[in-house]
C-alpha cells in the first residue's frame, strides 16, 4: 500500500467491507498517523451509537396489530368491476388514438370530425378526473379536526390512482400548447403527490400541513373552475355532422 489510508478505505474497513483488509491492517501497524485517524473515526461512529432509541416493550407488536386490524378490516376489497381499475388504461388508449389521429390526418374533413368526437370523449374523461380530484381535495380540506388521528387511506389511495392519469393529461395539455390547463394540472399533481406520500393516518398537524399545501396553491379553486369549464364544453350540443358519424 502506497501512501496513507484514504477516508473511504477506512470506512469500508470499519464496516468489514474492505477488499484490502490485510493491507490496511499491516499499514496501520506501522503508521501512527493512520492509527490515530482510524481511532478518531471509531470514536465518531461509536458516538453516533449513543443516540438513544425510545424503548418499545414486548407488547408493542400487539398494539401495532390492534391499530392495523381496524384499518385492514375497513379496507375495501378491489374488484375487477370497479371502474377506476381499468379507467386509466382506457384513458391511455384514448389518448394514444387521439394523438395518432391528430398527427396523421390533419386536413381530412371526415377525420377532423372523428377527431372532434375523440376530443369530446377525452373531455369527458378529463371532466371525471377533475371531479374525482376535487372530491379528494374537498374531503381533506373539510375533514373534521379531532384530537386523535384521522384515517385518510381512501383519499391517499385515490390520489395514487389519479396521479398517473394526471400526468397523461398534463403532458397532453402541454404538447397541445394549452398552458393554462397544463399549469393547473401541474399544481394538482404536486398536491396529489403529497397526499399519496402521506401516511394512512394523519395527525391534526399533518392534516393542517396538507391543507396549507392545497390552499397555498389555490388548487381546489383552480380545479373547480377548470372542471366547470370542461363540463360546459361537454354539455355543448353535438353537431349534426358529428351525430352522423357516430
Amino acid at each position: 500500500m502506497t501512501g496513507h489510508i484514504s477516508e473511504e478505505q477506512f470506512v469500508l474497513f470499519y464496516y468489514g467491507e474492505s477488499a484490502e483488509t490485510v493491507e490496511v491492517e499491516s499499514h496501520m501497524a506501522e503508521c501512527e498517523t493512520c492509527r490515530s485517524d482510524f481511532r478518531t473515526l471509531q470514536l465518531v461512529l461509536n458516538t453516533v451509537d449513543s443516540a438513544p432509541v425510545p424503548e418499545r416493550n414486548g407488547e408493542y407488536g400487539k398494539t401495532v396489530w390492534s391499530r392495523l386490524e381496524k384499518q385492514l378490516a375497513g379496507r375495501k376489497r378491489r374488484s375487477f368491476m370497479q371502474w377506476w381499475i381499468w379507467a386509466p388504461a382506457m384513458a391511455a388508449l384514448l389518448l394514444t388514438a387521439f394523438l395518432a389521429g391528430r398527427l396523421s390526418h390533419k386536413n381530412d374533413p371526415q377525420v377532423a370530425t372523428n377527431q372532434q368526437i375523440r376530443e369530446r370523449i377525452l373531455l369527458v374523461a378529463v371532466g371525471d378526473h377533475l371531479e374525482r380530484s376535487q372530491m379528494v381535495l374537498a374531503e381533506l380540506t373539510n375533514a373534521a379536526d379531532g384530537q386523535g388521528k384521522l384515517d385518510i387511506s381512501d383519499e391517499r389511495q385515490t390520489a395514487e390512482q389519479l396521479l398517473d392519469d394526471n400526468r397523461l393529461y398534463r403532458q397532453t395539455a402541454r404538447s397541445n400548447g394549452d398552458t393554462v390547463v397544463a399549469s393547473v394540472l401541474d399544481d394538482l399533481e404536486r398536491v396529489l403527490l403529497e397526499i399519496s406520500h402521506s401516511p394512512s393516518e394523519v395527525s391534526s398537524d399533518q392534516l393542517n400541513e396538507l391543507r396549507r399545501e392545497i390552499e397555498s396553491r389555490g388548487v381546489l379553486f383552480k380545479v373547480r373552475v377548470l372542471g366547470s369549464r370542461v363540463r360546459q364544453e361537454e354539455s355543448k350540443p353535438v353537431s349534426e355532422k358529428e351525430k352522423r358519424t357516430l
Binding site: L43, S50, W65, S200, E209
Partner: protein, 194 residues
C-alpha cells in the same frame, strides 16, 4: 434465510389474517427501531411502522422468497422513511425561509462546552448526534442507518434503495464524512487523551 414462525408468510399470502398478525407482532419492534433512527422522530417512526405493514399487506402477493421477509419489510420501511424525510425537509425548508434563528440546531450547541468525559454521556452529545444525523440528506441517512445500525451490506442497501454499488458507497462515505465533521470537535479531545 430466516424461517418465519409456522410458515406465517405463506399463510398470510393465502389470506390468513392470524398469520399476518403473527408477522406484525414479530417484526414491529425492529421496524420501529429502524424507523426512529431514520426519521429521528417518535411520531414519524410510529407512522412508518403502521404504513410499512399496510403496504406489506397490500403487496404480499409481490413478495418473492428470494430475500427474507424481514429484509423485504426493511425495504418497504426504509423507502417510506425516505419519502417521509424528503417531505419533512421540503416543509421545513419552507417554514424556515422566514426564520433564521432556529435554522441550525448544530450551530446553537456551544463549542466551548465542558470536558469530554462529561459531554460524552451528556444530553448535549445526544443532541449533537441527532443534529448531525439531521444534516444528512435523506439518501445518505438511509444508507448510513442501514449500514451502521442494521448491519446490512452495501449490496443489500443498494437493492433496497434501487441504487448501484458505487452510488450506495458514496452515500455512506458522504454520511460518515459529514458526521465526522460535526462530531470530531467533541470527540477530538478524547482521542488525544487516549
Amino acid at each position: 434465510m430466516e424461517v418465519e414462525a409456522g410458515g406465517a408468510v405463506e399463510r398470510a399470502r393465502s389470506g390468513d389474517s392470524d398469520a399476518f398478525r403473527l408477522l406484525v407482532e414479530q417484526h414491529s419492534r425492529a421496524i420501529f427501531r429502524l424507523a426512529f433512527r431514520m426519521t429521528g422522530n417518535e411520531q414519524d417512526a410510529e407512522d412508518v411502522v403502521q404504513e410499512t405493514f399496510l403496504r406489506a399487506y397490500r403487496q404480499l402477493d409481490k413478495y418473492e422468497a428470494r430475500s427474507s421477509f424481514s429484509t423485504w419489510l426493511y425495504r418497504i420501511a426504509s423507502n417510506y422513511s425516505l419519502d417521509l424525510i424528503r417531505m419533512r425537509k421540503r416543509h421545513e425548508e419552507k417554514r424556515e425561509r422566514g426564520s433564521v434563528e432556529d435554522r441550525d440546531i448544530l450551530q446553537s450547541i456551544p463549542m466551548d462546552s465542558p470536558g469530554p468525559d462529561r459531554l460524552l454521556y451528556g444530553s448535549q452529545v445526544k443532541d449533537r448526534v441527532n443534529a448531525a444525523l439531521n444534516e444528512l440528506s435523506a439518501q445518505e441517512r438511509t444508507a448510513f442507518v442501514l449500514r451502521h445500525f442494521e448491519g446490512q451490506s452495501i449490496q443489500e442497501i443498494g437493492e433496497a434503495l434501487g441504487t448501484g454499488t458505487n452510488a450506495t458507497k458514496h452515500s455512506i462515505f458522504r454520511a460518515v464524512q459529514k458526521l465526522r465533521k460535526s462530531l470530531e470537535p467533541i470527540v477530538g479531545p478524547a482521542v488525544s487523551s487516549l
